[in-house]
């Protein structure tokens, strides 16, 4: 290593390391060296490698050399901006960072700024900025949309981006990438330091960290810390019968409980909030030792969550049942075991969660996987192998979302009048928007100004207008005010507070707030229905204003909240592993006996598909004919495939009556034998053309996506200045706006944004397309006389989620027909 002055720490740091009995790690010095030479850098390191200190060393040493700013000096903007995906993380880092700063007596001010920071403190921060500001992507956007942004950021040297792998793939990441492009304008010498867990394609992140020139590409440097002790992962050993289907893992509760008893503190991860609720309740019913077990998920009241977090930090708990809300890198006490209930769905996610145990790099994390059904046993096995080989399946960054761009364009107009050419240049310097055509950008500007409608009736109400010099500026200060109130890329479905009252729902006020639940879920309930929430069985009493009133229930068979969010699709990488495992009986040695037997019988009755092959089975059962396919592409892609295939079969006159999808397979059934179908033809890629378009148009999933786009892009305001919330009566329904737009202006830019989102998100069309390509010429059809073992899990799903085209008509007709039935019934005399 070059022993130039670039890699020497200031004496005060060297003394500090000595006193602690530590020495700086090589990657910390390497990062410092590169930063000093002016390079932006991505640091990839496992948990516990001292990532945070590494990320801040360049700033700390630089600021130490600068010294305290003498009172009375001219305004000095912030030196370092630290951005994390979580508010809590920004607060946590302040604590961690203040330790070395105060121990060394460094002349450096550190403050955080989040949505919770009081107004007076935010005001003061603008007047007297700290040297290091710790914040979130939303706050960065807010600061940039301010008229003082140029002054505030002109002295900026470093931007430290924490948990970058988690940030970049979301719309928040898109917004931040645009913010970063603006920061590079305001402070041309700014350098970025990205901190990330292992990802499958580091180059993507390296490009994300620096401005992209119009021609060619540029990227940040890379420092990788390999190793960390290998985690010890096992699959839960059980004598219980592993179910064929379902996601509750109820069968394993006693074994889970025994495992928890042997740990000091365990994190129990599940994939959905409803699983968390269920598991938590089941654990408490057998908690004879009264272990302090807590629950943590995103719908719970913030106060309750903070309490659980504090109890964890103080090591007052033995176990916490949690969803992804606890995924990211906050230090919560001495967790020594991670239990993962349900299949992890992605090898990277699993690695991340396992990293929560034992936050020290040189000690192995301990983790136990608890598959909920037989396919999940295979998935866990595959994930486990993947983790050992260090394989990664983080999703790609993806193209920058257009609704986010619209938000950013308005924000930039709020900061100061902009020149469209200059802003376009800035936008395409951000990696996610690098391929954005100028024409699309111009349409977005039009959209921001007047809604972008072909019918130009809103010129006089424009939000931004061009000045005589051709600059776009906001037409009214109220526009900036509304922008600030509505900023952000996280759109939640309408939620109601859940409040505990006396039985009968009489109490008008008081009663404890338990959290929030989606409005659409409550619409399914009538008074007296019971459901699981916040670890309790609750009785639904009714809705008052924007609150859902509940009372304690003593039912043991509650309806469980079926949340929209929280379902991860099986990752492509893991799917590939599972297909491999299935195809090769030589690898089954590590599977439990009952799962192995299941596969053996499948081999006798039908076949086991080869790795690159799509197996399709057809068989009659009761009065119906079934077709089951095994693409292993995740539930979302299978659902889309199911909808498209049933359309096609209908056209072929084969009268399909329904379908069901799991992460692994898809079943379609109907009144006609499907044995004679030309499957190569049926699964032809051209289904992604017109069929898809026709179906998309009426799809509720596209409406849901549109809603998010409309809110993020600022078409629909979440909050309007001076307007109080009117309770449940939403001023305008995005579904209706969607209908109007689709029938009158189907090419509107916002519909395009929604279609793009749906293609990558809820519908997983990209993956479906890749699958159809992959299996072309590799379809194996087995005509069976009865159901095969592999088909059982998906058949057991039938009826859980009724999906069919004319379902709404049918339900209303049925309800209306009840009347006729009543009229025709002759009472016994």
């Amino acid at each position: 290593m070059d022993e130039g002055p670039n890699d020497r720490l200031p004496p005060v740091f060297e003394r500090w390391f000595e006193e602690k009995g530590w020495s700086p790690r090589p990657h910390q010095i390497e990062l410092l060296k590169r930063a000093r030479s002016g390079e932006s850098t991505l640091l990839i390191a496992p948990t516990g490698a001292g990532k945070t200190l590494a990320g801040f060393l360049p700033s700390l040493t630089d600021l130490t050399a600068r010294g305290k700013i003498p009172p009375g000096s001219a305004f000095t903007g912030i030196h370092t901006l630290y951005v994390s995906p979580l508010k809590a993380l920004a607060v946590d880092i302040e604590r961690n960072l203040m330790k070395p700063v105060s121990e060394m007596g460094l002349p450096i001010t550190v403050e955080n700024r989040t949505g919770d920071t009081p107004v007076h403190k935010r005001q003061r921060q603008k007047l007297t900025p700290p040297d290091i500001l710790l914040t979130t992507p939303e706050q960065v956007a807010l600061l940039l949309a301010n008229g003082e942004a140029a002054r505030f950021f002109r002295d900026l040297k470093y931007v430290v981006l924490d948990e970058l792998h988690a940030l970049v793939t979301s719309k928040r990441g898109h917004l931040l990438s645009l913010g970063l492009a603006r920061l590079r304008k305001l402070a041309p010498d700014v350098q970025t330091i990205g901190l990330s867990a292992t990802v499958s394609d580091p180059m993507e992140l390296q490009r994300w960290l620096v401005g992209q020139p119009e021609e060619g590409r540029q990227n940040a440097g890379l420092v990788t810390v390999s190793g960390g002790a290998k985690p010890q992962i096992t699959i839960l050993q059980t004598q219980a019968r592993i179910p064929w289907s379902g996601h509750s893992a109820r069968y394993a509760i006693p074994d889970i409980y025994e495992t928890l008893k042997r740990a000091k503190m365990a994190l129990v991860f599940v994939n959905t909030r409803s699983q968390a609720e269920l598991l938590f309740q089941e654990l408490w019913t057998i908690n004879d030792d009264n272990l302090p077990i807590a629950l943590h998920h995103g719908s719970l009241d913030v106060g309750q969550r903070r309490k659980v977090e504090a109890a964890m930090a103080d090591n007052r708990l033995r176990a916490v049942v949690a969803t992804s809300t606890l995924d990211l890198g906050i230090d919560w006490g001495d967790v020594d075991l991670v239990l993962h209930v349900g299949a992890p769905k992605g090898a990277s996610r699993l690695a991340q969660r396992i990293g929560r145990a034992n936050h020290r790099m040189d000690e192995p994390s301990r983790a136990v996987l608890v598959p909920a059904n037989r396919f999940e046993v295979m998935e866990c096995r595959a994930a486990l192998d993947a983790n050992y080989v260090g394989a990664q399946d983080t999703p790609p960054i993806g193209e920058g979302a257009l609704d986010v761009l619209a938000q950013h364009v308005l924000g930039m107009a709020c900061a100061e009048p902009f020149d469209a050419d200059a802003l376009y240049g800035e936008v395409i310097s951000a990696e996610p928007y690098h391929a954005l055509p100028r024409e699309t950008f111009d349409r977005i500007v039009e959209f921001v100004a007047t809604g972008g409608y072909a019918l130009k009736t809103y010129e006089r109400y424009a939000k931004i207008r061009q000045t005589a010099e051709g600059l776009w500026r906001i037409s009214n200060p109220a526009v900036a005010q509304a922008y600030r109130l509505n900023l952000g890329t996280i759109v939640e479905s309408p939620m109601l507070n859940v409040r505990m009252v006396k039985s009968g729902g009489k109490a008008r006020f008081g009663g404890m707030m338990l959290g929030k639940v989606e409005e659409y879920f409550l619409e399914q309930l009538v008074q007296g229905d019971t459901f699981l929430f916040s670890g309790k069985v609750l009785r639904f009493e009714g809705i008052r204003e924007n609150e859902c009133l509940v009372s304690p229930a003593f039912s043991f068979d509650p309806k469980i909240p079926a949340y929209a969010g929280g379902k991860f699709p099986l990752s492509t990488f893991l799917a590939e592993q599972v297909r491999g495992l299935l195809a090769d009986p030589g690898t089954w040695g590590t599977l439990p006996d009952q799962v192995r037997e299941w596969l053996e019988i499948q081999r006798l009755r039908s076949i086991l598909p080869k790795r690159g092959e799509l197996l399709i089975e057809t068989f009659p059962r009761a009065t119906r004919y079934y077709m089951v396919a095994y693409p292993f592409e995740g539930r979302l892609a299978h659902q889309t495939l199911g909808l498209l295939l049933t359309r096609r079969l209908e056209r072929m006159g084969l009268k399909p009556t329904g379908f069901a999808a799991t992460d692994y397979s898809l079943a379609i059934w109907g009144l006609e034998d499907l044995e004679g179908v030309d499957f190569a033809d049926l699964f032809d890629e051209d289904m992604l053309g017109e069929d898809l378009e026709a179906w998309l148009a009426e799809s509720f999933m596209l409406k849901r996506t549109f809603r998010n786009c409309a809110v993020i892009a600022g078409l629909i305001e979440r909050r309007h200045p001076g307007k109080e919330k009117t309770g449940r009566q939403v001023t305008v329904s995005t579904d209706l706006v969607y209908d109007v737009l689709r029938s009158h202006e189907p090419d509107h830019i916002l519909l395009e944004a929604a279609r793009r989102d749906a293609a990558t998100g809820l519908l997983d069309i990209a993956r479906l397309g890749a699958m159809l390509k992959r299996i072309r010429g590799h379809i194996t059809h087995m005509a069976l006389s009865r159901v095969s073992p592999l088909a059982v899990p998906v058949l057991l799903e039938i009826g859980r989620e009724p999906v069919s085209g004319g379902a709404d008509d049918a339900i209303l007709a049925e309800a209306a027909d009840d009347l006729i039935e009543e009229a025709l019934t002759v009472d016994d005399v």
Binding site: G451, Y461, I543, S733, V740, D808, A815, A816, D818
Partner: protein, 241 residues
């Protein structure tokens, strides 16, 4: 299917389609368009047109699509063509805000005038348009009576025999086989009736909401739900299968 394509379908549909009901002893038809037709008075009632809603939002710089007025007028035209009534009652909130009728773009104004020609047209005032309409013919009043029926925008508290009101945008949720379908509806107990909203950009309020408390004799409450150009009649007692 949504209300955008409903107008086309209604034109091809027999006028007989709809639900025949009796309201305070008067025969009436709940039309699939969302209008109420009273043959005895040759009267068609529509409620909560909320014309110019998009424009009203645009005035507050929420730039909703500017196509809602045209679409609502399409529907109104289809409903009028089906019944060709002598009298039309627009039951309040005809425009989304006070400025709405005054700012109505000329082409729409001409269309509306065409629809009004040759008919007695009554604008009931609503909370969104308390001053009535500007630059359009017709009578403006707070309420109007025909026989035993009284038409007003906001339903009176408690039971009110013979009242036809709007304002609340009733919608009913019907559940069968664990699936729920919610649609706008006419809500009536045979004594009074609350109209569905007619405008294409108007949402619905569930009949279970407390705004409906005390309005109906719940035993006799029936919802006539609008869906796909048909009217589905479901008594409240049968909303949940």
């Amino acid at each position: 299917m949504n209300r955008m394509v409903l107008a086309q379908q209604l034109r091809n549909q027999a006028p007989a389609a709809g639900a025949a009901i009796s309201l305070a002893g008067v025969e009436a038809v709940c039309d699939p368009s969302g209008a109420l037709f009273l043959p005895a008075f040759d009267l068609l009632c529509v409620s909560d047109l909320h014309l110019e809603k998009g424009a009203a939002f645009a005035r507050r710089r929420q730039l909703l699509p500017p196509y809602d007025t045209a679409a609502t007028l399409d529907l109104l035209e289809a409903a009028l063509a089906r019944r060709n009534p002598a009298i039309v009652v627009s039951l309040g909130d005809s425009f989304h805000d006070r400025a709405g009728s005054g700012h109505l773009p000329l082409p729409y104004r001409e269309r509306l005038k065409g629809l009004m020609r040759g008919r007695q047209w009554i604008w009931i005032t609503g909370n969104h348009d308390p001053d009535g309409v500007e630059g359009l013919e017709g009578e403006t009043c707070e309420d109007v009576s025909f026989g035993p029926l009284t038409f007003r925008h906001e339903p009176k508290a408690g039971q009110a025999r013979g009242e036809v009101a709007g304002h609340l945008h009733p919608a009913a949720a019907v559940t069968r086989r664990e699936k729920t379908v919610r649609r706008p509806c006419f809500a009536t107990d045979g004594e009074r009736l609350v109209m569905p909203s007619f405008g294409v950009l108007t949402g619905g309020l569930d009949l279970g909401h407390r705004a409906f408390d005390g309005l109906f004799d719940r035993q006799n409450l029936v919802a006539h739900l609008l869906h796909g150009g048909r009217v589905y009649t479901v008594p409240a007692a049968r909303f949940k299968g």
